[in-house]
């Protein structure tokens, strides 16, 4: 028997691509049903009009994550209460690519979109980490000289390295810590400007995530987590 916990654990690795947060933490999963090796999951989003492309990516990733759980041979993901529920559920059910599910309405697949937002998420995560490490004195103020081997060990840093690896960037101990959107080292002359922009990306993602949590709460009558988390 497959345990619901195992399914949820697998789903916790699925991110909202725009918000760079786990769909289980965001409260998007409303139900998991297990019957033998068959797993069915229901998904909900903050609004009826959330962008269909991001919704598709989440549903697609959720299905892949469930299928990767040992013992699962069949997975079903159903998106509820969404303007494109029908096309998305049919597409995911039939293992179609986005461009097949929305035939005639796209120019290509969702890879570019996915990678664009992974890079934005990475940029903001790197800046957050950099600030923490500078503030607590664990790295030298001469940022460009810092190598990955100079970083202390922590769960945040492990996660950072995981995201960096996912993007195909150099994660060897001698690689420079701070890199740009393409994984290249940042020259000292432009590092302050790049950090300033990375901070802005972070503010944008953070505000967006806060709004989405609030909208989900308003939509489904849940307590608003943001009202306590803003202090």
């Amino acid at each position: 028997m497959i345990e619901t916990e195992r399914v949820l654990e697998a789903l916790s690795g699925v991110r909202d691509p725009e918000l760079d947060q786990s769909i289980t933490e965001l409260g998007f999963i409303t139900g998991v049903e297990v019957e033998g090796g068959s797993v069915s999951v229901r998904l909900r989003l903050p609004t009826y009009f959330c962008a269909a492309n991001f919704a598709y990516l989440m549903a697609f990733d959720a299905k892949s994550a469930i299928l990767a759980v040992p013992g699962v041979h069949e997975a079903r993901v159903v998106l509820d209460d969404h303007f494109a529920s029908e096309e998305i559920n049919e597409g995911i059910g039939g293992d179609k690519e986005f461009q097949e599910a929305f035939a005639g309405q796209t120019k290509g697949g969702l890879d570019d979109l996915r990678w664009l937002f992974r890079r934005k998420g990475f940029m903001s995560r790197q800046e957050r980490l950099l600030r923490t490490l500078l503030n607590d004195g664990s790295i030298a103020p001469d940022i460009v000289s810092v190598r990955l081997r100079d970083l202390p060990r922590s769960p945040e840093i492990d996660l950072y390295l995981e995201r960096r690896r996912e993007l195909g960037f150099d994660v060897s101990p001698g690689a420079p810590f701070v890199v740009d959107l393409e994984g290249r080292p940042i020259p000292a002359e432009t590092i302050e400007e790049q950090r300033r922009f990375a901070r802005l990306v972070g503010v944008s993602i953070e505000a967006n995530a806060g709004l989405c949590r609030g909208l989900l709460a308003a939509r489904y009558g849940l307590p608003d987590p943001e009202e306590v988390a803003t202090g």
Partner: protein, 343 residues
């Protein structure tokens, strides 16, 4: 006019509506989905005492609007930004024709803007020109996510959009309010992306592009573009209501906006009836960047607030400002010239 602690503020609300989303006017499930989505924004971000019952939110009256904006809400001039949504609502959500009724009754209280859609083709150009002549229109609202038949939206760089922009310029309709939404063609692109504004802002330097919601959820793309293009402004709808339940997020957003684009291109907007202008204005005038963030973001001064609340839009639309409202001469400096990062 709003007055607090001896400071006077002339208030121009840069984005508001008189809509009808009642079940009788809804054409299909999308019409219901649209207003339900608005209601979630309204009820989640408003102080509890300002949350309306759902039925009233679907359709409110002229009297509600006049009272909320001008009697209680301190607004001096309000700018209508019509949003047609003819595929969702039988008579439209909020059209120029409907807004014109109030404009004719209270000519000094409202700026009547119109809208166009490149997918209306050649015929639409004529219809647009007739509206401009009839009402002396100075601005339009463009909603790129609007559905039209099988289409789920358009890009401002579409060739026909250029025809409409040329026509706008020719007719002296110089204020182009751009509103991004969740859908677009092609659907594999980020529908909220504002990079098309970058292209048209370069190609039409005599037009001013006011990006609604300061580009949210793509604040970063908006700031980047508005830093490069002098004729790209930002409207604070959606961002400003964060001031109540999420004041630290608001501090960061306004701090970033002031850093990147400066105080001269940011404009107040309630998006009424999404939010009531009274509490937005009161809280904004009382607001200060929290102390622990001031080393990064500085402070908000009454002059900055005065520009954002009304003076910027008064300049853009040529509205008379009462003499008792101070006109700050010093331009609050953004640091746009230092910004060289790439998005």
């Amino acid at each position: 006019m709003y007055e607090k602690d001896g400071e006077k503020y002339f208030v121009v609300d840069g984005h508001m509506h008189l809509w009808d989303a009642s079940p009788e006017n809804q054409k299909n499930k999308y019409g219901k989905g649209f207003i339900d989505c608005f209601y979630a924004y309204h009820s989640n971000l408003s102080p509890k005492e300002y949350v309306w019952p759902y039925e009233k939110y679907c359709k409110y009256t002229e009297d509600d609007l006049m009272k909320d904006l001008f009697e209680e809400g301190y607004v001096d001039v309000a700018i209508f930004l019509p949003t047609y949504l003819m595929d969702f609502y039988k008579k439209g959500f909020n059209t120029t024709e409907q807004d014109a009724v109030l404009k004719e009754k209270y000519p000094d209280k409202f700026v009547l803007n119109s809208a166009w859609d490149p997918r209306d083709g050649e015929k639409g150009l004529e219809v647009f020109e007739a509206k401009v002549e009839k009402w002396g229109i100075k601005g339009v609202k463009l909603y790129t996510a609007e559905w039209k038949g099988d289409s789920r939206g358009y890009s401002l760089t579409d060739p026909m959009a250029y025809r409409y922009l040329e026509k706008s310029q020719e007719l002296g309709v110089t204020n182009i309010h751009v509103h991004k939404g969740p859908t677009i063609w092609p659907m594999d692109r980020d529908s909220f992306d504002v990079h098309d504004v970058d292209h048209i802002a370069t190609d039409f330097p005599d037009l001013t592009f006011i990006v609604e919601h300061v580009g949210l959820p793509r604040l970063e793309d908006f700031c980047w573009i508005a830093t490069q293009e002098g004729n790209v402004w930002g409207g604070l709808a959606v961002a400003l209501p964060f001031i109540h339940t999420r004041p630290r997020y608001f501090a960061k957003m306004i701090g970033e906006l002031l850093y990147w684009i400066g105080a001269d291109k940011i404009t107040f907007a309630s998006d009424y009836a999404l939010w009531h202008p009274k509490w937005l204005i009161e809280k904004f005038v009382d607001f200060q960047i929290p102390e622990d963030m001031q080393s990064e973001y500085g402070q908000l001064t009454p002059d900055i607030k005065r520009k954002i609340l009304g003076l910027n839009l008064a300049d853009l639309y040529g509205l008379p400002v009462p003499a008792e409202v101070p006109r700050p001469k010093v331009v609050e400096v953004g640091v746009a010239e230092e910004a060289g990062a790439t998005a």
